[in-house]
C-alpha cells in the first residue's frame, strides 16, 4: 500500500499520549459569502466532492488522531446537530466523540465562540481549533506534539498556527484574503502578522523595527495559505474572555497578542511543506478545494480511498482523475464525454453528447443531451436538460435547469430553483427560490427582510432572463448589505476576488510576481530565495527586504516613516473605538500603550494623536459660546486624563502639541478654551503654560504654512499667562525677553 506522501507516521496518537486530543470546530462561518446557497443549510453542511464540509473536517481531524471534537454551531444549529447525530461519526465504533455545542444567536464572531468555549469549560488541555470548512491531511498531532514541547520550555508560547506553503499565485490561496507573516527563521515564532486584502492592492506592509533588531534572521512571507488550524493552549479562550473586543482570531487576537507589550505571549507558526490543508472560505476556494481533492492533493483523503461521506458511497478512480461512483455506477451515454477532474455521484446519468469537465456532479443527477458542464459543482438531484451550458457555477440540491438555458461563470443557484427554458443567466448571478413557491422555514427576521429586499428588486427584465417556468429570484448584484457590520474591511471589490468564476480581470491587480526580493541578495540573507520573494502586488519593497539593503540608517528611516504612518492610523482607530464605545480611560490608555510599544514610536506621537483625538471630539457649537464652553468642559473632563495616562507626563509638550494641532484644524478658535479646560482639569499647570510660552517653537516660525495660526495660539497663550499674572498680582514680564530669534523649525507632523 502506498504510504502517504507526507512524513512517515506509524501509529495513531492514542497510545503515546495519555491525555486525549481535543479539537474545537467552529462550524459557523460568521459571514454570508455563500448566500443564497446557505439559505436553508449552514455552510459546513455544503457538499464538497459529494460529502459535507463537516465530514471532510472531521475526517481531517480523525486522520490527525483527534479523539474528541466540539462543534460550535450557531446558525442552523439544529440541522447540524441532527446531521451529526445521523452520521457515521456518532456511532460508537467511529472512535471519535463529537459534541455539538449550540451557542447563542448573538455570537457573531469567532471571538464570541471562543468566549463561549471559555465559559463552557470543557477544554482540558491544549486543543486544536479549526474552522468547520477545513480539508486537510496534515498530521496535526505532530504539530500538537511540537507545540507541547515548546510549551514545556516556554509557558508563553500559547498558540501554534498551521500554515501551508503555496506560492504567491495558487488557486487554493484566497486572493482576497491573504496575510503577511513575519517569522523568525530559526524558531518559526510569528513576530508580526498583517492581514492583506486583494483589493485595493496593498502597496506597503510594515514590519516593526524592533523585530528587525531582535532577530537576526527573518522570513517575511506572503505565500502561505492560512489553514486556520491553530493549536491553542487553555490561555487562548481566557484571553478572548479578557479582551471582549477580540472578534477575529487573526485580525484581532493574533495581532493583539503580537503587538501587546503587556501580555508577553508568543505565537508560533508551523509551516507545512508536505501535506495539504485549505479552507473553504468562499465560493472561489470552494471550487479550488474541490479540484485539489480530485487532483489527489489531499491524499489519502480522496474519493476513491477515504471518502468521508456516508459509508456506502465508494468511488472508482479512472485515468485523468475521474471518479465514478461504484455503488451505483453512473449511466454514461455512448457519445457523452467525461473530461478530467470530474466526479460523478451515484445513480447519475449523462445523456448523449453531454460534456462534463472539471466538475463535481452529485447523486441522482441528470444531464440532458448536449448539455455542457464545466468547472462547476452540481449537488444532488440536479437536472440539467438538453442543450444547457453551465460554467463555473454552483447549483444547489434539486435545481432544475430547463432546456436551452445558459448559466455563465460564477452563478450560485440555491436549492430547489427551477430555471428556464431558454434562460440566460449573466455572470455572477445569484438565484434562490421565490418565497411562497417553496415552503421554507425562515430562521429569523433579518433573513425575511433580506428576502423582501431581494424580492423588491426584481424587475420584469430579470424575470425574463430566468425563463418562463422559473421559480427563481435573482439577488441584486451590489452586495452593500451583504456583510455583517463588523466586516467593514471587506470592500465589495475584495469580495469579488473570493467568488467562484470571477476572474476579476477588470480589477487592477497586476500579479507581477515577486518583484520585491533583494536585488543584491548578499551578506546576511542566508535565508534561501524563497524567504524574501513576495507577491509584487503588495509592493513590500523596502521595509520588507530590509535585511539585504546596504545602508542600515536608510532602512531605519524608511521603516520609521512607515511605522509612524501605520501607527497613526491605528491610534486614531483605537481612539475612535474608545470614544464610541465609551471605554474607561484606563482601558484606552492600555491599548494605546500597547500600540506604541508595538510600533516603537516616540511618546510625542502618541500625545499628538491623543490630543488631536480629544480636540476633534469636541463638537463645534458656533454662535453659542456658553454652550461651547460646556461641551469643551465635558469632553476634556471625560478624556483629558487620557493625555497623561499614555505614559510619561509632559504637560509642556501637551500644550505644544495642542497648539500645533489647533493651528491646523478648524478648531483654532477653541485653543484658548481647551487650554483653559485642561488647566481647570489639572492636566496642565500654570508653570507648564509658561514654559511652553517660553519655547521658541511655540511662537511659530515663518517657514511653516501654519505659522500664522501658531502665532495666534501663542498670542492666546500669552493672554492666558497675563491673566495668571494678574491673578497673582505679579507683573513681571521677563518671559517675553528671549524669544525673538531662531527660526529653526523642528518637525512638522504631517
Amino acid at each position: 500500500m502506498a504510504p502517504k506522501g507526507s512524513a512517515g507516521k506509524e501509529k495513531a496518537a492514542p497510545e503515546e499520549e495519555e491525555e486525549i486530543l481535543q479539537a474545537v470546530v467552529l462550524a459557523d462561518s460568521f459571514n454570508n459569502r455563500f448566500k443564497p446557497l446557505t439559505l436553508s443549510k449552514p455552510r459546513c453542511l455544503l457538499p464538497v466532492c459529494n460529502a459535507t464540509l463537516l465530514d471532510w473536517t472531521f475526517e481531517s481531524l480523525a486522520l490527525a488522531g483527534v479523539q474528541e471534537i466540539f462543534v460550535i454551531c450557531r446558525s442552523h444549529a439544529k440541522q447540524i446537530k441532527s446531521t451529526i447525530a445521523e452520521s457515521k461519526w456518532s456511532q460508537p465504533s467511529s472512535g471519535i466523540k463529537i459534541v455539538p455545542i449550540i451557542t447563542a444567536k448573538e455570537s457573531f464572531s469567532a471571538g464570541d465562540a471562543m468566549r463561549d468555549i471559555y465559559t463552557h469549560g470543557f477544554i482540558k488541555s491544549d486543543f486544536v481549533l479549526v474552522a468547520g470548512d477545513l480539508v486537510s491531511n496534515v498530521r496535526i498531532d505532530e504539530v500538537v506534539r511540537a507545540h507541547k514541547e515548546r510549551r514545556r520550555k516556554n509557558r508563553d508560547a500559547i498558540m501554534t498556527m498551521v500554515i501551508k506553503e503555496a506560492g504567491a499565485v495558487h488557486r487554493s490561496r484566497p486572493r482576497g484574503e491573504t496575510s503577511i507573516f513575519v517569522l523568525d527563521s530559526n524558531t518559526h515564532e510569528c513576530l508580526h502578522y498583517e492581514p492583506v486584502q486583494g483589493y485595493p492592492p496593498l502597496a506597503h506592509a510594515s514590519v516593526p523595527r524592533e523585530i528587525l533588531t531582535e532577530h537576526s534572521e527573518l522570513e517575511i512571507r506572503n505565500d502561505f495559505i492560512d489553514c486556520n488550524i491553530d493549536v491553542c493552549s487553555l490561555e487562548v479562550p481566557s484571553l478572548f474572555q479578557d479582551n471582549f473586543d477580540y472578534q477575529d482570531i487573526r485580525r484581532d487576537f493574533v495581532h493583539g497578542v503580537l503587538t501587546s507589550d503587556l501580555l508577553m505571549k508568543n505565537i508560533y507558526c508551523h509551516v507545512i511543506t508536505d501535506g495539504y490543508a485549505a479552507r473553504v472560505k468562499d465560493t472561489r476556494s470552494y471550487a479550488s478545494v474541490s479540484k485539489d481533492i480530485l487532483a489527489r492533493w489531499t491524499f489519502p483523503l480522496v474519493p476513491d480511498d477515504n471518502h468521508p461521506g456516508s459509508a456506502s458511497t465508494s468511488y472508482e478512480h479512472a485515468r485523468g482523475n475521474k471518479y465514478f461512483s461504484l455503488s451505483s455506477p453512473p449511466q454514461l451515454a455512448r457519445t457523452s464525454h467525461v473530461g478530467p477532474l470530474t466526479q460523478l455521484g451515484p445513480d447519475t446519468s449523462i445523456a448523449a453528447d453531454a460534456r462534463v469537465t472539471r466538475s463535481v456532479i452529485g447523486a441522482h443527477c441528470f444531464l440532458g443531451p448536449g448539455a455542457t458542464v464545466t468547472d462547476s459543482n452540481l449537488w444532488d438531484a440536479v437536472r440539467v436538460e438538453a442543450g444547457c451550458v453551465i460554467e463555473s457555477s454552483v447549483l444547489g440540491k434539486g435545481v432544475t435547469v430547463l432546456r436551452g438555458s445558459r448559466i455563465e461563470r460564477g452563478c450560485l443557484i440555491a436549492d430547489g430553483v427551477v430555471i428556464g427554458p431558454e434562460a440566460r443567466l449573466k455572470k455572477l448571478t445569484r438565484v434562490s427560490v421565490r418565497r411562497g413557491t417553496v415552503e421554507e422555514d425562515e430562521e429569523d427576521e433579518d433573513e425575511d427582510s433580506e428576502l423582501e429586499h431581494v424580492e423588491a428588486s426584481q424587475t420584469s427584465e430579470i424575470r425574463a432572463s430566468l425563463g418562463s417556468e422559473s421559480n427563481g429570484l435573482v439577488w441584486p448584484d451590489d452586495s452593500v448589505d451583504e456583510d455583517e457590520d463588523e466586516d467593514e474591511t471587506h470592500s465589495r471589490l475584495n469580495q469579488r476576488l473570493l467568488r467562484i468564476g470571477d476572474n476579476a480581470s477588470d480589477l487592477d491587480i497586476s500579479d507581477a510576481g515577486s518583484v520585491t526580493s533583494s536585488s543584491d541578495s548578499d551578506a546576511d540573507s542566508d535565508a534561501d530565495d524563497g524567504t524574501l520573494s513576495m507577491n509584487g502586488v503588495l509592493g513590500l519593497q523596502l521595509s520588507s527586504s530590509a535585511t539585504s539593503l546596504p545602508s542600515e540608517s536608510a532602512v531605519a528611516e524608511l521603516a520609521d516613516a512607515q511605522a509612524q504612518r501605520e501607527f497613526q492610523a491605528e491610534v486614531s482607530a483605537s481612539l475612535a473605538r474608545a470614544f464610541a464605545e465609551g471605554h474607561s480611560v484606563d482601558n484606552a490608555a492600555v491599548e494605546l500603550k500597547t500600540l506604541r510599544m508595538a510600533s516603537n514610536v516616540p511618546l510625542r506621537r502618541v500625545r499628538e494623536a491623543v490630543v488631536a483625538g480629544v480636540v476633534d471630539l469636541i463638537p463645534l457649537v458656533p454662535d453659542a459660546p456658553a454652550q461651547q464652553r460646556a461641551e469643551i468642559a465635558r469632553v476634556v473632563g471625560r478624556w483629558g486624563q487620557l493625555i497623561d495616562s499614555i505614559g510619561g507626563i509632559d504637560a509642556v509638550e501637551t500644550v505644544a502639541v495642542l497648539q500645533e494641532h489647533c493651528s491646523q484644524s478648524p478648531r483654532l478658535a477653541l485653543f484658548g478654551q481647551v487650554l483653559a479646560a485642561l488647566y481647570q482639569h489639572d492636566v496642565v499647570e500654570e508653570d507648564d503654560i509658561r514654559a511652553w510660552h517660553a519655547l521658541t517653537a511655540s511662537r511659530g516660525s515663518s517657514e511653516v504654512a501654519t505659522a500664522e495660526n501658531m502665532r495666534k495660539c501663542w498670542v492666546v497663550g500669552a493672554r492666558m499667562i497675563k491673566q495668571f499674572e494678574e491673578q497673582d498680582d505679579d507683573s513681571e514680564d521677563e518671559e517675553d525677553k528671549d524669544e525673538e530669534d531662531e527660526s529653526e523649525s523642528e518637525e512638522e507632523s504631517s
Binding site: 500500500m1 502506498a2 506522501g5 507516521k9 501509529k11 508536505d274 487532483a295 489527489r296 478512480h317 478530467p340
Partner: protein, 372 residues
C-alpha cells in the same frame, strides 16, 4: 447474533483496523497481514457458533469490511482467505474422523465432478458445502464438533501467524544459492524481504548491490543506507540510468506488493522499467516475496485505479501554484509487471516460476473465498 455482545472488544479492534487501513496509517504488507491475523484471532476466540459455517460467515463478514476499507492492500484479503482455508481443512479432518460415514452420495454430481479437477480438491472429494446438506439430526452433533474444534482452529490461526513471522527468514534461506560471489545485483525501492534476502546472502558472499533511488518516493535512498550499513557494497543510481547499467548487472531482485493469479505482480513504480530493461539484456529477474502476497485476483490490472495513485506533491510541489492549475500530475505508486518479464518468485515456501503461481493460489485458498 449471540456472539454480538461477547465480541464487543473485537468489534472495536476491527473498527480501529478499518480506520487505520482507510487512513493509510497502517502501511506494509506484512504488518497489515499480522494485524489482520490478530483481529481474526480475536473474532474466533470470542465467537460463539453452532456450526462451522456460522464461524466462516463471521470471518467472511469481518474480512469483507477490512477489504472494503482498503481494497488495494491485498494482504488483508489473502490472510483472511488463508485462515478460512485452514479452518475448513481442520474442520474437514475432524468431521471425517468423527462421522466417517456421513459422506452422502448426493454430493456427487457432474458439476462437482468437474470441480474435482481443481488441484487441491483431489484429496478430499467432499466439499464442506456438501456436509451442510446433512439431515437435521446431525446438526447437534455438528455443533458439538464445532465447539470442540476451537483449540484446533486457534492453532490453525497460530500457524498462519507463525508463517508470517518467519517469512523473512524463510525467504532468505536460499539466498546463498541464488547470489554468487562478485555478482552485481540491481534492486529498486525498499522492500524488507529483499533487504533480509540480501543481508542473508551477504553472510556468505561478496557482491555489489546497485539501488535505484526510486523516484518519487526515494525509498531507494533508505534501502541503500540500510544495505551499506550492513556491510554490503552499495551503489545508488538514479532511476533513469537503470537501462544503461543493466548490461553490467547479473541479476535483478525485486520486491512485490501483491502477486496476482496469472503470475504478474504489483510492485513499486520503476519495477516495470527495471524488468523491461532486464529483459532487453536477458538479465534474470528474481522476485522475493512471502506467500501471503499471493492474491487470487486477476482483473485488477485492468483497472487504472489499482495502481494506487498517491498525492502529486512528491512530484510537483504544491507551491508551484501556476502549474498546479494547468498540469495534471499523476503519481502512481505501483507498477503492474506482467509474468513474461519475471523469471522466478522466491517465496518462504520454495521457488516458483510465475506460471505456477496459479497452482499455488489454488492450493492455498478455497475457491469459494475468492469473493469475500
Amino acid at each position: 447474533m449471540s456472539s454480538e455482545r461477547g465480541s464487543a472488544t473485537s468489534q472495536r479492534q476491527i473498527e480501529s483496523l478499518v480506520c487505520r487501513l482507510r487512513r493509510r496509517q497502517l502501511i506494509g504488507s506484512r504488518e497489515t497481514a499480522l494485524e489482520t491475523v490478530h483481529v481474526i484471532r480475536q473474532v474466533v476466540l470470542r465467537a460463539r457458533f453452532r456450526h462451522i459455517d456460522e464461524l466462516i460467515g463471521m470471518i467472511k463478514s469481518v474480512g469483507r469490511r477490512l477489504v472494503d476499507a482498503q481494497p488495494k492492500e491485498h494482504t488483508v484479503g489473502n490472510t483472511i482467505r488463508k485462515i478460512l482455508h485452514h479452518i475448513r481443512e481442520e474442520y474437514n479432518t475432524a468431521a471425517q474422523n468423527s462421522t466417517l460415514k456421513a459422506g452422502p452420495k448426493s454430493g456427487f454430481s457432474i458439476s462437482n465432478f468437474v470441480l474435482m479437477g481443481q488441484p487441491k480438491k483431489q484429496s478430499m472429494p467432499q466439499k464442506s458445502s456438501s456436509v451442510e446438506r446433512n439431515p437435521e439430526s446431525s446438526v447437534q452433533n455438528d455443533s458439538d464438533l464445532a465447539q470442540g474444534l476451537k483449540p484446533v482452529l486457534m492453532e490453525a490461526i497460530q500457524d498462519v501467524l507463525d508463517e508470517l513471522e518467519t517469512v523473512y527468514d524463510n525467504v532468505s534461506k536460499s539466498a546463498k544459492d541464488h547470489i554468487h560471489s562478485d555478482e552485481i545485483i540491481l534492486t529498486i525501492g525498499k522492500s524488507k524481504t529483499v533487504e533480509a534476502y540480501l543481508k542473508s546472502a551477504a553472510h556468505y558472499r561478496n557482491f555489489t548491490v546497485i539501488v535505484a533511488e526510486t523516484c518519487p518516493s526515494y525509498s531507494g535512498h533508505e534501502m541503500a543506507r540500510i544495505l551499506s550499513s550492513a556491510g554490503i557494497s552499495t551503489v545508488l543510481v538514479p532511476d533513469s540510468s537503470i537501462y544503461a547499467i543493466m548490461s553490467r548487472v547479473n541479476k535483478v531482485i525485486l520486491g512485490a506488493h501483491a502477486i496476482l493469479a496469472n503470475g504478474g505482480m504489483f510492485a513499486i513504480t520503476g519495477s516495470l522499467m527495471a524488468s523491461n530493461a532486464a529483459r532487453a539484456h536477458s538479465t534474470p529477474v528474481v522476485v522475493c516475496a512471502g506467500q501471503f502476497k499471493l492474491t487470487p485476483l486477476w482483473n485488477l490490472y485492468h483497472q487504472y485505479g489499482a495502481l494506487d495513485f498517491a498525492d502529486p506533491s512528491s512530484v510537483l510541489g504544491f507551491e508551484e501554484g501556476s502549474l498546479v492549475e494547468k498540469v495534471e500530475v499523476v503519481n502512481p505508486y505501483y507498477d503492474y509487471v506482467n509474468p513474461e518479464l519475471l523469471d522466478v518468485y522466491i517465496t518462504n515456501d520454495g521457488d516458483h516460476p510465475p506460471s505456477s503461481v496459479y497452482r499455488l493460489i489454488k492450493e492455498t485458498y478455497d475457491d469459494e473465498d475468492t469473493e469475500l
